[in-house]
Symmetry: C2
Subunit: 454 residues, 2 copies
């Protein structure tokens, strides 16, 4: 898992407020605002969402442009044209994604032209490339496909080496309702992310950067696990509030908190220096709670630290059922330091694979500090790993097994970490449902290993 | 995992086209269209998305209402009011989510009132409830919070037992630009999904249903794994195309295809009968490729079938590193039929936990049909399970280990399934990156078990 699982941003500091006191020359965002229009009826079903806009928003923010509106509209010419007219009237930069294909449902070119009151013309170079593309596959091009060569008058045609529809970039001036000339940038991008992303990064961003005031933005991300957001905010707010020229965003979700810092200065060196100063203070305050300041995931950091110390790891998982091993092995190259382990879901397998005495399980229950310890130690010895870690708990929704565990609460989890000298055992009472309990248990296990390796 | 992982809908048949020939009395959708406005600056950052709209869209579709636009707008009164004016002018039903809190950034009430040209009034019952809420916590209510009691003139106040801001439902008539009276329904819902979902289901849907023409919609979902979408479409299109009164949606992603069928008839019995007839024909055509027709996931179906036959299962995973075990144990109650297994990531653990002879690994390589067989058989014997399944492969991005695997291609995967009589071994060459190869390998393993149990 390279990405934060199901991250939900609980608190995002409001940019408008934070910037009030800032010198306009050092504002994070220019005065230009953008709207993203995602065209496609499928995004108006319960099944699919516009995800391109997150990518485009990040790229626009990097350039100092804020996104003020996102609109999702179906493959309907009247609807799409009205959305285009509204967007062109209310923002400076309009980016369309999707609707550039060859079918009758692909209407973005027509809608943008109608909204701007300009014509489309067939671009001969694009048309020739389309014919060539089909010829290369020994096919005759259906006449429909020719519409992909239609270009907004005055627009730059951006060749799309990842698909057949070119992107378009139009930097123009229109008259507003008062007859005043205003500048508008209209960009058409194909919908498939594999086409949209490289076209945006390689072609659109440089064109936009050349069209916008120069800004020097620096960025830092600090990641922490398992500390409540309110605790982190209470400890870090007195620091970051002394930096009103830095935009601070706190993202929380899935047992992880991220602090994002963004700063604009007349030079990049100034912006970097300012963020270095701030993040050093935050790191001093939070000490080793920060597991990553360069974007690595918790599992990557654990594997990195195992590698630095030439140590190997093995896992014995009961309630997490392989989740910890799965997260570690999702990292390429993990096989050098992660040997594997066992999913000891049944009591018998706790004995078979980790040598836990059956009497111990019978008397203490599979969810007990004693069994957690025996699992970690047994797994370490059986596999020859330097470190053995175990997780045993009650993930619910059903109660613990009959016997000693019958009255133990859902969410009770024991995690043990054994090396050649010692074994530490930790008890947790985790809230939430089965999925959350399992995820947090794996998160606690990774943090236990990371702290052990510090 | 109860939900389809990272499902991406590749092809969704266009409703507008499919309905052309339908008797209006049996149209899936009424003539009323809706817009969803999500209010919140955080959804205009790269970090967070409006997800409420998927839920609202499904609920609206169930009532025969199509969503024509989705708009995402920040906490800015001018922007939010302009979005509200546009929405009220172009659709029949406008649902706002978010912006009902007590802070100065919560502006949805004000924007909706301004767009409708009506006033807000303080609702005394809501105000009293707010004071009571704070008093119960021994707190004085900040004056800001009183704004949560502001209600659109003429709106129903919907008590929110999950939070402090009530929802609002306004069914009204306004004059359009030609002075003609037109009916508009405006709904305000709080943003937190835990408040929005029950309020929408329990309060808004019944009110909407009472305000809309009666419709009887039936729905079916058939799920298949690992068959290319184009094959499924080629075999099923000749069948579902004979049912122009049924909306067919094909969703593809993560090694799974879903066929969704939706049908409206004068009575629910008619609609059900029509879909039963269609799905029976599809099931006959696709035979046992359909693993679920009642919403169960593939892992749930496998566990269900193990239960029906009183059989137990154990896993030996190399390249999937615990993913198969994790998926099985994510299902509550899986411990009855899934014993556990081993993550035999290193060669040594293949021997330690499944008794694979070291010579076999040395001569054939860990990624070989012989080792896959030995893993499945060894795991079955060691754990005492009725069935043992193994997965070994090269997930990349690096090549196979030095030795016999050095020149084997990335994506080569062997899966073996052993029972007391036989062992079957299958070879796959899976495309894509590490994550995709691992996911598809686990999908193939589950399908192998399911077919074995049929």
């Amino acid at each position: 898992m390279k990405e934060l699982r199901g991250v939900s941003a609980k608190s995002i500091h409001n940019r408008y407020h934070r910037e009030k006191s800032i010198n306009p020359a050092e504002r994070l965002y220019s005065n230009m605002i953008a709207e993203i229009i995602a065209a496609g009826s499928e995004m108006l079903t319960p099944f699919r969402q516009d995800t391109n806009s997150l990518y485009l928003t990040e790229g626009l923010n990097d350039l100092g442009v804020q996104v003020a509106f996102k609109t999702i509209v179906g493959d309907n010419l009247a609807h799409l044209t009205s959305a285009a007219i509204i967007a062109i009237s209310r923002v400076d930069i309009v980016i369309f994604s999707g609707g550039l294909g060859p079918t009758e449902d692909d209407l973005t070119r027509e809608a943008a032209a109608a909204a701007l009151g300009i014509d489309l013309h067939a671009d001969n170079a694009v048309l020739a490339a389309l014919y060539k593309r089909f010829a290369a596959r020994q096919m005759v091009m259906p006449s429909n496909n020719a519409k992909q060569a239609n270009v907004l008058d005055g627009a730059d045609v951006i060749h799309n080496k990842y698909g057949s529809a070119p992107a378009q970039f139009l930097d123009t001036t229109i008259l507003d309702t008062n007859g005043k000339p205003v500048r508008k940038i209209v960009i058409l991008l194909p919908g498939p992310p594999k086409e949209l992303k490289p076209l945006f990064d390689d072609e659109v961003k440089p064109r936009l950067a050349a069209s916008l005031p120069v800004r020097h933005l620096a960025k830092r991300i600090l990641r922490m696990a398992l500390i409540p957001e309110s605790h982190i905010d209470a400890r870090t707010a007195p620091i970051y509030q002394q930096y009103p020229d830095v935009e601070t965003t706190i993202l929380a979700g899935s047992g992880e908190i991220q602090l994002h810092f963004l700063c604009a200065k007349p030079t990049l060196a100034d912006a970097d220096a300012r963020l270095d100063e701030l993040t050093e203070k935050i790191e001093a305050e939070m000490e080793d709670a920060i597991f990553s300041s360069h974007g690595e995931s918790l599992e990557e950091v654990v594997l990195l630290n195992l590698g630095l110390r030439h140590l190997t790891l093995a896992t014995a998982e009961s309630c997490t059922g392989g989740l910890l091993a799965e997260r570690l092995t999702a990292v390429p190259g993990s096989s050098r330091y992660f040997l594997g382990g066992a999913v000891v879901y049944s009591d018998a397998l706790k004995t078979t694979f980790a040598g836990v005495p059956t009497e111990l399980i019978a008397t203490k229950g599979p969810v007990s500090p004693e069994v957690a310890r025996a699992l970690a130690e047994g797994m370490r010895v059986r596999t020859g790993a330097a470190l053995g870690i175990s997780i045993t708990g009650i993930a619910g929704p059903g109660p613990g097994a009959p016997g000693p565990d019958a009255n133990k609460p859902i969410g009770l989890v024991y995690i043990a970490l054994a090396d050649s000298q010692n074994t530490q055992v930790k008890e947790f009472q985790l809230p939430g449902d089965r999925e959350r309990i399992r995820l947090w248990a794996s998160q606690h296990a990774l943090e236990l290993i990371r702290h052990h390796l510090l």
